[in-house]
């Protein structure tokens, strides 16, 4: 099973480095989509199914918190797994994100091996991966 992934971060450097790090994970990658903010991500999700979203918090246009609220309000996308990858260190924000059903949080800078391990643990079980 190949997994489709979506990286949402306003930094192209981070999107590219995450792509590289994902190559280390022992999962079969399908398509890896990119979006520079929450709005771009929502627009993309109207057309494409992904198995896991990597989400930054501080972004222009639509930040990660707003994206999560909107995502959870869309029936077809409500259960889509989201992994936060951000510099955010506030437990208050973490609690808000957990209420919105995120799968986990990795603080930048993220080690490639931590990313690979976390992705494998999230996708290791059930998934809706593209074949």
């Amino acid at each position: 099973m190949a997994y489709n992934l979506l990286i949402v971060d306003d930094s192209s450097i981070i999107r590219k480095s995450l792509r590289k790090a994902l190559g280390l994970a022992e999962i079969e990658l399908g398509q890896v989509f990119e979006a520079a903010n929450g709005q771009e991500a929502l627009d993309l999700l109207k057309k494409e199914w992904v198995d896991l979203i990597f989400l930054d918090i501080n972004m222009p246009v639509m930040n990660g918190m707003e994206f999560m609220k909107q995502l959870r309000g869309i029936d077809a996308l409500r259960g889509m797994p989201v992994l936060i990858i951000s510099t955010e260190g506030s437990q208050v924000r973490y609690a808000e994100l957990e209420k919105l059903g995120i799968k986990g949080i990795l603080r930048k800078p993220v080690r490639p091996e931590s990313l690979a391990e976390t992705v494998q643990s999230i996708l290791g079980g059930a998934g809706n991966g593209a074949v």
């Binding site: 192209s12 450097i13 501080n58 955010e88 437990q91 930048k108 800078p109």
Partner: protein, 160 residues
């Protein structure tokens, strides 16, 4: 055990080694270490929360070129694309700021990082950062893979 004078030094060292994969050594006298005749690049992050302030990183092209190459895994035979150097510098500021605020003020408080400003300046334009000595200010200065990088953390004067 290393004793850091200020969390800004601990965090800067951590991010430069862990994320940027650079070899670093503490440096002194930025006015003499930077090349005065080459352009200076800086990025400033304004943060807002229980108090407001800003964090500025000052460097030159040699540093951002190495930074972008290390983060993207680009070897010296291939050019870094236009814009990627600034993107790398902004992201460095983002990661240093986020980690610094949590390290210095704990995880029970919330800060927003609403804006990043980048600018190319010259030696004279950078001097105020090197020379300022007001109370709410702390700095870190390193050679990263031999290239100087200066980090300045500033609480707004009205906040301390």
């Amino acid at each position: 055990m290393v004793q850091f004078e200020h969390p800004i030094q601990k965090v800067t060292e951590f991010v430069l080694t862990e994320w940027a994969m650079m070899l670093i050594e503490p440096a002194e006298a930025p006015e003499e270490t930077f090349s005065a005749d080459r352009p200076f690049l800086n990025v400033t992050v304004n943060y807002q929360g229980v108090f407001d302030g800003e964090l500025t990183i000052i460097c030159q092209r040699g540093f951002v070129d190495l930074l972008a190459r290390n983060v993207l895994g680009i070897d010296s035979d291939h050019p870094v694309k236009p814009g990627e150097e600034w993107d790398a510098l902004r992201e460095l500021a983002n990661i240093v700021s986020g980690n610094f605020l949590a390290e210095a003020y704990g995880t029970e408080v919330v800060f927003d990082l609403p804006s990043f400003k980048t600018a190319e300046t010259d030696f004279q334009g950078s001097l105020p950062f090197f020379r300022s000595e007001h109370v709410g200010r702390s700095t870190a200065f390193y050679l990263a893979d031999g290239e100087p990088v200066f980090v300045c953390f500033d609480i707004r004067a009205s906040e301390y």
